[in-house]
Assembly symmetry: C2
Homo-oligomer: 215 residues x 2
Amino acid sequence: MSETTTGQTFATGSVPVGRAPGRPRSERAEKAIIEATLDLLAEESGVAGVSIEAVAARAGVGKTTIYRRWPNKEALIVGALAAAKRPLRDPGRGTVREDLLVLARELGAERRDRHARCFWNVAGGAEKHPELYARYRHDVIEPRREVLRRVLRRGLDRGELRPGADPEVAIALLVGALAHRAPLDRLPEGFPEAVVDAVLGGIGAEPTVRDDTGR
Amino acid sequence: MSETTTGQTFATGSVPVGRAPGRPRSERAEKAIIEATLDLLAEESGVAGVSIEAVAARAGVGKTTIYRRWPNKEALIVGALAAAKRPLRDPGRGTVREDLLVLARELGAERRDRHARCFWNVAGGAEKHPELYARYRHDVIEPRREVLRRVLRRGLDRGELRPGADPEVAIALLVGALAHRAPLDRLPEGFPEAVVDAVLGGIGAEPTVRDDTGR
DNA sequence: GATATACGAAACGCAGCCGTATCGGACGCC
DNA sequence: GGCGTCCGATACGGCTGCGTTTCGTATATC
């Protein structure tokens, strides 16, 4: 492969270090293509709404330049999504509650971002494009969940969380509550904080007398 | 309107009671169209993936029969979604925990249904088709949330929930945790139950000594 | 400057879909 | 049995997109 086609390992961006027979591929064009793809994937209704021609037009690029890198539309979207990683930053400096508050506010704020809107469209088309969804989940979603997982495990180790608590359930609660709304409608004021405290404290009446300082 | 077009109030299914000049519209065809529309909306990637021609073909119907009832594709989808109501049934016979368990299991089981897959695609296209999403939210989503709201309020009235608990936050936790996964991937065994108990009891370590019977 | 590749632009044939129009026939009421 | 409407089928012009090909040009290394 590398002999005949000058090492065109699609969409890896691996610049041929040792050799470069002709004009090298434009890194600028590649970035513009990826940006345009993500924009369209976020704006249009799903994978079906993204067209190569629209991507080329928005990126200011010829279709040739796209097909030289990715063999078809689905591969293009896969590549673009892989480049769209946005891992959460582990605050890692406070109590579990403090760390979760930081992350929850971040999750709440991100909802209107391109990233979040892409998520809906990719998840919705999961059955039509299972490989696309699987890679997205592995490359983008999981690293983000891993940060939450780490924070929660720290809390368990420190005894700040109830010993039997299941981190996966906690992640589902936090992420679900904050992300499971169409990007269109807004979160109420103070919602991320309320979610964190509800997850930590529960909403059930206590079987034992509880210190009623609030949370 | 009713004079010139024989009362064709689009997609209301209101049979002209007093008068019926010509051949009445086939109720069977209408149902087939709606079913086909929902099927396609669930299977394809979003609104963009639904085509009138595909609906007609799947429903075994001429395109004319569709355009006679709905003026365009978006109206067709709106109409089909309105007919796809599936309100939750209020169990209404046990404690809050028992009722929530019933509802949570129902939510978990519904995830792979056509209904849930439509939801993802409609929510994802919310920005491209805001009116469609708004009506869907009002006609389908809200009645379902209302059931949860009623159960939670009952719990508050009975003192089974902590007095200050916010039902909206609780709904977000429950629905989010159970529904915010692509229809593709499965819920772990016992997940709905774990979610309910996590929401009721919280995951935080208790400030006071807690009866360690589990829940 | 020779060579090799990438670039953007344009055009291709093919396919799908939109929304409309036109069929012959079916149906229900008067 | 006549009338009005609906039925499914088919075809239309127009548009958009796919994936390929062909341009002339630009930009690297040798």
